[in-house]
Amino acid sequence: MLKTVRDLFRYNLEFALGAILILIVFSFAAASFFSPYPPMDSYVVAPDVPPSWAYPFGTNSRGQDVFWQLTLAIRNSLLFGLSVALMSRILSLLIGLVAGYAGGITDRILMTINDTFVVIPLFPILVLFFFMMRDNMSWPMLAIAMASLGWPYDARLIRSVALSLRTREFTAMSVFSGMSTRQILVEEHLPYVLPIVFSTTLNNMNWSIGLEVTLSVIGFTNIETPTIGTMIYWANQHTAMVAGVWWWIFFPVVLVIMTFLGLYLLSVSMNEYIDPRSRLTRMGGQG
């Protein structure tokens, strides 16, 4: 495991770049625990101070320190992305493994539903959800809503892996040796599916963080919870660009782009690593 990470770091530029970006973003989020003042309290510092030694990212028009607010915002955004990803993993694993393993009519039905969910435009539906919830909207609720809509793409991927596993010899072995379906899925197939689950987790985090930013910026979430999206929302509310308080917008945007790029690069390099064809060349196999 450690050796794999070291090899990836050394020979895969995408992995190295992604890992560095994510490391920066995570340490930034970790810094939120050392904030000298509650980051959401208004007027704790002088408003509209440009970046300086005292305030590296400046302060905003609400008298908040952009640096410390950003640490909390990115922590919340990451946490949000992670919880959506984890919750939707349960659904996509369940549906993907069952469809791939059961095959036949079960597979056909599940995948038809799956493909339907893939194409339904989620944004208007999430807006409708916000419209109905209004002040009751909280981010755990949004996370649950997004998790219950964001599983299908990865369920299809996991199904294709499970489908290829089903035809392998050891599955037949396990069936003959009297293992139950549940046992086969959990003990035999899960280890093969885990790498792809991991890489889809990263992709799903990207998707959910992106969608959360979008909804927040329009003001369609709970705008009192600091996330990257709500930071930009408040900056827009105070017309930060017109007022020349560019640092209020610039730093959140840069940080969130680093997050997207980092997660994406990690998942790309991970896919390349688990791709059976590149694995074969790596081991020197020849067709």
């Binding site: 339904i120 944004f123 409708l128 419209f131 109905m132 945007v253």
Partner: protein, 333 residues
């Protein structure tokens, strides 16, 4: 021919299913959430002035009827579907008494125009360049394009649109950053058309940039798989003209999966379009949706959501119908 008909029937069934599940999700959201849209509308009206309890009661009854929230759950469900089928979403509350359908019909062409143009440009250009990049792996210009595509692909539509807005709105103001066309202009003729194009450049550009990256990367990896296919290896062994191999063998065979990819991502592209519209104040469905939410216009929000689902499903059906033209194998299997 019979197989083609069978294929069409199957695709049409999928279309029905998408609409059915999508609209049902919308129904569930509106009926299972704890907030009553009628009470919400009433409280927003009564907030600004005194209303007699009788007046409120009349208003409540009218709104219930208007929103189709009368009767048992089953009756409401049937009403809901009847309204969907007839396209009658009732009058809009914020633009009373204009029907919701009229408002949507006014916004839809803008969204469709923007969406179709930008999607086609992104798909064609992205696939073409991605195909070249997959075939000529050592070309450094294409490699650089690949890096650009990779850094654009994971960025959400909103951020790209927002960056364009900042760049062209504040740093280098050469393009209009808001609206669909100039206001004080004759609504026909070349000047108007030119104004529309000028206003759509930035929203379209942000959609194209994100889409381009995704198609580029998808096509590049597809092509690098297809070049190892038997028929490509054999054509190379046969000394078939290299450009012919690239276009008629490699890219041609990558097109059908990319068309499936287009059908599968139309939902996401649509999301992108309405977000971009909001950023640039483009007079389409996205801007209308945000305005409807902010005005508390229940019928309009529900109408836009439903029409979005039906529009995306129809677009996918169109792709499915032309798909067999690209891949002769489909109509058989």
């Amino acid at each position: 021919m019979r197989t083609y008909a069978l294929y069409l029937v199957r695709r049409f069934a999928q279309f029905i299913l998408v609409v059915f599940i999508g609209i049902n999700i919308a129904y569930l959201i509106t009926h299972l959430t704890p907030v009553d849209p009628v009470e919400q509308a009433i409280s927003s009206v009564t907030m600004f002035g005194q209303s007699s309890p009788e007046m409120v009661e009349v208003m409540r009854k009218t709104l219930r009827e208007l929103y189709g929230l009368e009767g048992s759950a089953w009756e409401q469900y049937v009403t809901f579907w009847r309204r969907m089928a007839t396209g009658d979403f009732g009058p809009s509350l914020s633009a009373f008494p204009t029907p919701v359908s009229t408002l949507i019909w006014q916004a839809l062409p803008w969204t469709l125009g923007l969406l179709v143009c930008s999607t086609l440009i992104a798909w064609i250009v992205g696939n073409f360049l991605g195909g070249l990049a997959g075939y000529y792996r050592k070309n450094s210009l294409l490699k650089a394009l690949g890096i650009l595509a990779m850094s654009l692909q994971p960025i959400p539509y909103y951020i790209v649109a927002f960056i364009l807005l900042v760049v062209f709105g504040f740093l280098w103001p050469v393009l209009p950053i808001s609206g669909g066309a100039e206001m004080n202009i004759d609504r026909q003729g070349f000047a108007f058309a030119g104004s529309i194009i000028k206003h759509s450049i930035l929203p379209a550009l942000s959609l194209v940039l994100v889409g381009l990256g995704a198609w580029f990367i998808g096509m590049r990896s597809l092509v690098s798989n297809i070049v190892t296919e038997d028929y490509v290896t054999y054509a190379e062994l046969g000394g078939v003209d290299r450009r012919r191999i690239l276009f008629s063998y490699v890219m041609r065979n990558a097109l059908s999966p990319q068309l499936t990819g287009l059908a599968l991502s139309l939902g996401a592209i649509f999301n992108g379009a309405i977000i971009t519209e909001f950023v640039f104040g483009y007079p389409g469905m996205g801007t209308l949706l945000v305005r409807a939410v902010n005005a508390g216009d229940y019928s309009l929000v529900l109408g836009i959501t439903s029409v979005s689902i039906i529009a995306v499903a129809s677009a996918i059906l169109v792709i499915d119908i032309i798909y067999p033209l690209l891949d002769p194998r489909v109509a058989r299997s």
